[in-house]
């Protein structure tokens, strides 16, 4: 029979091993564990995951909200819209975020699995911009719907293709291959991009279609808006699509796009807001609306709302109250942070409509 000492020594061995491992990890500097910031009182942690497109503004909001309400922490991870939708349906996060609205099938799956609805709350407006890295070219390129869709269909393969040189008379485009970059992960930014291409090119609509991930005819994949921005920056001859703020913050040149009215429009606060005016007036009750290729002379054609995906039933009363309080703050005070990060504010009519939807969260 095993005696007690050996049992104790075996246990001791295991515990020692664990502690040695930890100790050696912490040993190089006492600074590791000494916590200069006092750990605040035990608080509510709300987990969320999803879109990278609005991540810069979301992390700003959650940080500011935490300053106002030190007892509430929103932990948002930008894992991509596709994963955000998935994790919301799987209920591993308290809420999700996406730039492509959930489709009917996903909503039905959520309803069946969870027993309640997932509500879409528009948060800000943003834009997909075509960004590029052409050695020797710093000019702002003009893209037509035809040139963009045919580049992504693999029909235009050279930078000096007539479809590109035509609208850009002053620019000397080289005779080099175009390297197409798209997203590798499930992405709302991709949804916006493919939604736009589907609207302006029937061949795209029939061959590829719109989704958070599609079967790309050509190109390399990058993970997240960060990944696409990084790939374009490192690859001569590359073209990619990212949310406006990523192009601005990483100093990658991005082009202007011809809109429905035939005008070349640069993505900025005014042109994105202009794209939303039509939708703001007739917002559907579930807020799932596409504003790509919007009418209006000044509308930027690849604009979009982005949404938080909030469960209509939140069992934990504390979390429910905190999420509802956050939504109210987000729709009002928080919108002041948008411009600093080049996102457009929500139209007033949409804010009012969302305020009533908050009451549906029970």
């Amino acid at each position: 029979m095993m005696n007690r000492r050996s049992l104790v020594s075996l246990l001791g061995l295991a515990v020692c091993a664990g502690l040695v491992g930890l100790g050696s990890l912490l040993s190089p500097g006492p600074s590791n564990v000494s916590i200069a910031e006092p750990v605040p009182l035990p608080s509510v942690l709300i987990n969320a995951a999803g879109a990278t497109f609005p991540y810069p503004i979301y992390s700003k909001w959650f940080s500011e909200y935490h300053k106002l309400h030190p007892d509430v922490e929103f932990n948002y991870q930008s894992v991509g819209s596709g994963a955000g939708i998935r994790q919301t349906i799987d209920k591993t996060v308290d809420f999700g975020a996406s730039d492509g609205p959930m489709n009917d099938q996903q909503l039905a799956e959520a309803k069946q699995k969870l027993g309640y609805d997932i509500l879409h709350f528009p948060t800000v407006l943003g834009a997909d911009v075509p960004c590029y890295n052409i050695p020797g070219v710093t000019a702002e390129l003009k893209f037509t719907p035809e040139s963009l869709s045919n580049i992504y269909l693999g029909k235009i393969t050279k930078w000096n293709d007539p479809a590109l040189t035509g609208p850009n008379p002053g620019v000397k485009l080289p005779n080099t291959d175009i390297v197409v970059v798209h997203r590798s992960d499930g992405s709302g930014t991709t949804y916006i991009w493919t939604d736009y291409l589907s609207k302006i090119n029937p061949a795209w609509a029939s061959k590829v279609g719109r989704n958070t991930s599609v079967n790309w005819p050509v190109g390399l994949g990058g993970k997240g808006n960060e990944g696409v921005a990084g790939l374009v920056k490192e690859t001569p001859g590359a073209i990619g699509y990212v949310e406006l703020i990523y192009a601005i913050q990483t100093h990658i040149p991005y082009g202007v796009v011809e809109n429905k009215a035939g005008k070349f429009i640069k993505a900025d606060l005014a042109s994105v807001t202009a794209a939303a005016t039509g939708a703001a007036a007739n917002m559907p009750d579930d807020f799932r609306v596409s504003i790509t290729n919007a009418p209006g002379a000044d509308a930027y054609p690849i604009s979009s709302f982005t949404w938080l995906l909030i469960p209509s039933h939140i069992a934990d009363a504390t979390k429910r109250d905190d999420i509802k309080a956050f939504l109210k703050w987000m729709l009002t005070d928080a919108q002041q942070y948008n411009e600093g990060l080049d996102y457009a504010r929500l139209p007033k009519a949409v804010v009012a409509k969302e305020m009533t939807q908050i009451n549906r969260v029970q």
Partner: protein, 283 residues
């Protein structure tokens, strides 16, 4: 040219070629170390060790929560993987006989080669989905699963180096099989086993893939084992692929820190092993 000079010449040429190859082989390591020191040192400041991350695109802040988080995850991984692994190794070496150990050893070898992302998905399926949320426990479990086969194999190897005559002596003096194992064989191999554990911990400390959908990440301090937690490799990954210069700098610093910790563990384990060898010679 006489035969002797020819042979001397060939000898000189061949030894310099091999020396050059050896040099080239360590160059990548030196490059990695050098690059990390150059790029990372400037961002290693007090705030880096003590502050929480700041919102995207803002400069400053630190990764204190990730440092503590990594320690937490490693402790959990050790609690899960070490007792099981050591016990398994003892069984394989001392009690198993032939059939079962063959299968277990084979399984352990296979488990070592399983890509870490697959272990992450496994932990997501068996811990995260049933429980319903990401947690430090799930991350520790995933790392523990990675740790387990390494510890089993190491423990078994070191127990096998204990000479048979030690076991025979103990048995001849009337001690039972279990008593012999616990009081004679395991203590004799103890330092080797500890070394194996340290190396295994150092190995999993740098893993990102098993943590993505288990430990998730946390922008704040972890407040309990059932809540998401940040970790060093995860932060390096997120900051590294970001588009912000300040995050890039912090990623370099975090990589330097992680590599430093792994090196310390490695050196520590070599010292432990060296002491073991020394004590062996005296015995």
């Amino acid at each position: 040219m006489n035969r002797l000079t020819w042979r001397k010449m060939v000898n000189a040429v061949m030894s310099s070629v091999t020396a050059l190859c050896a040099l080239i082989a360590v160059v990548p390591l030196l490059f990695v170390l050098g690059l990390l020191v150059v790029k990372g040192t400037s961002s290693l400041n007090w705030a880096f060790f003590t502050k929480l991350p700041v919102p995207v695109g803002e400069t400053g802040g630190g990764i204190a929560n990730a440092i503590v988080g990594s320690a937490e995850l490693l402790l959990l991984a050790a609690l899960f993987g070490v007792p099981l692994g050591v016990a398994g190794g003892i069984y394989l070496s001392e009690f198993g006989g032939w059939g079962v150990p063959f299968v277990v050893r084979y399984a352990a070898d296979l488990l070592v080669t399983v890509p870490s992302i697959v272990i992450g998905i496994f932990a997501y399926a068996v811990v995260v989905l049933p429980v319903g949320h990401f947690s430090a426990l799930a991350g520790g479990f995933a790392l523990g699963v990675m740790l387990l086969p390494i510890v089993v194999t190491n423990t078994e190897q070191f127990l096998r180096t204990v000479p048979v005559w030690l076991r025979e002596g103990s048995l001849a003096l009337g001690a039972g099989h279990w008593k012999t194992t616990m009081s004679v064989v395991v203590p004799a191999a103890m330092q080797g086993i500890l070394t194996g554990i340290l190396l295994a911990l150092a190995r999993v400390a740098g893993e990102t893939a098993p943590l993505i959908f288990t430990a998730f990440n946390n922008a704040y301090w972890n407040r309990g084992l059932n809540q998401p937690v940040s970790s060093l490799p995860y932060m390096i990954w997120i900051y590294g692929i970001s588009a912000y210069d300040d995050w890039h700098r912090q990623a370099w610093a975090a990589a330097l820190l992680l590599l430093g910790l792994v090196l310390v563990v490695n050196v520590l384990s070599r010292l432990v092993l060296a002491r073991r060898m020394a004590s062996r010679r005296i015995a």
